[in-house]
Amino acid sequence: MTSVAVPSVLDTSLFLQDLKLKKKESVLHELVCAAQGVRVVRDADLLHDTLVRRERWCSSAIGKGVAVPHARSLGVLIPRTIVGRSLRGVDWGAADGLAVQLVLLVLSPSESSPDVHLDLVARAIAITRLQRNRQRLLDADGAAALADVLREAGA
């Protein structure tokens, strides 16, 4: 796993360029651990359990190879978006049957308002709406390329 801090306009994102694991619970764990490594997360186990429970209630796969798991959680210290890419794809149970290759994990502390959190989620989804942006994220060869995509998408 390679993780790189991205100095984007968000100035917040992490980019995991090659997610190694195949199950969505494991991928969520990988992303949460990366976030904990940069002090975004105070309690990785609590956050992971929250994300997994949330998946059961409302799958984060939105189709076209994209998943946007998200949570407002006591386990999160600061708002942050973490981008993960799986070259071979992860079975996320998407309605369109496609394996997920792009995962945008949106995290907010529990004290954030629900509307502000959903604004962050909407922004993450907006980045992936265009096929051109999805392809650029899949082709991005590092943090700088990711930052370019985010900047141009208005993130």
Partner: protein, 112 residues
């Protein structure tokens, strides 16, 4: 799962439940492309966590949840993230513990 862990899970679940019960939030999730289920399974999970959570804290938790919408809040640099009062040094939890009560607002403080 310890009683304290169950209480933290309960707080997380209640945040999720507040979203699942709010028609506006559910409508927004659907508009974003998600397909949220009915909250019944979350309600059942809440009953299980309520039974497993530390009895000492439940009354404080329910009172703060009802009053403020959150029963447990984090602490950052000795500030309660519920009422933003700076906490006295004596408010820190004992060894091996992670929860105390905010004497200003009554929320449960999570110190990790």
């Amino acid at each position: 799962m310890s009683g304290a862990e169950a209480l933290l899970e309960l707080q997380e679940l209640d945040l999720q439940l507040s979203e699942a019960r709010a028609p506006a939030a559910v409508a927004r999730l659907r508009k974003l492309g998600f397909v949220p289920a009915e909250p019944a399974a979350l309600e059942r999970a809440r009953q299980r966590l309520l039974a497993a959570a530390d009895r000492r804290w439940i009354q404080h938790y329910e009172r703060a949840l009802h009053r403020y919408g959150r029963g447990v809040v984090g602490v950052r640099e000795r500030v309660c993230l519920g009422c933003f009062v700076t906490l006295p040094t004596s408010a820190a939890p004992g060894a091996g513990e992670s929860l105390t009560l905010c004497e200003s607002c009554g929320r449960i403080l999570y110190w990790r």
